[in-house]
Amino acid sequence: MKFLAVCGFGVGSSMVLKMSIEKACKERGIDCEVENTDISSAKGTDAAAIFTSHELGEELKDSVNCPVFPIKRYMDKEEVGQAVDQFQENGGK
């Protein structure tokens, strides 16, 4: 299963978000691969779910087929954990 962590450039914030998602998944025993990328590359990448900011999420959600979870604080492991929980509760949809 692949998750995407997305920010404007795919280098700084999304890398931090990727670390937060990896940590949350590890704590929950979820086997996944997390890739960080910029918003334009994200539009053409297949993933089980995308995690990004509210603003970029609005821009992304019409051009991707997977669920998009808006995250306010990329380094907040509780907020990121709740989004991962929601992904699981929705049956991975």
């Binding site: 920010c7 404007g8 450039f9 795919g10 280098v11 700084g12 914030s13 890398m15 931090v16 670390m19 937060s20 940590k23 918003i39 990004t52 900011s53 509210h54 603003e55 970029l56 995250i71 306010k72 604080r73 990329y74 380094m75 907040d76 492991k77």
Partner: protein
Amino acid sequence: MLIDVLPKEHMQQVEHIETWEAAIEFASKPLLEAGYIENVYVKNMIASVNQNGPYIVLMDYFALPHAKAGEGVNQLAMSLLKVNQPVDLKGNPVNIFIVLAAIDADSHMQSLREISRILADEDNYQRFISGDLEQIYQVLQS
């Protein structure tokens, strides 16, 4: 080591700064003076917040301004600005700005990993947000 990329000479503290744009400009000064970044990188960081939103606020009171890797960046580096009175960044109060100047997609990963690890600890986070430069420096070495 994080401190190699973000040495004490790159850290500044001020009481008050009017806007988040001015804070990013001020925080960038040590990197501009050392020739690690160009003015265009500072402009790009500010433009990114206006274009993409305030997601650089990674935790409450802590922001990581950055822009496209390698564009106006000559060397991987970071600088830090502590503002005693929180600065409003599009609805988010911020006390600490760490400018990230990345040269490529991943050479800064270790430094970001260290920051993430350090700030995941609540005591570290509190000292990081509320401390003076000496305390912040110590936290970042922990």
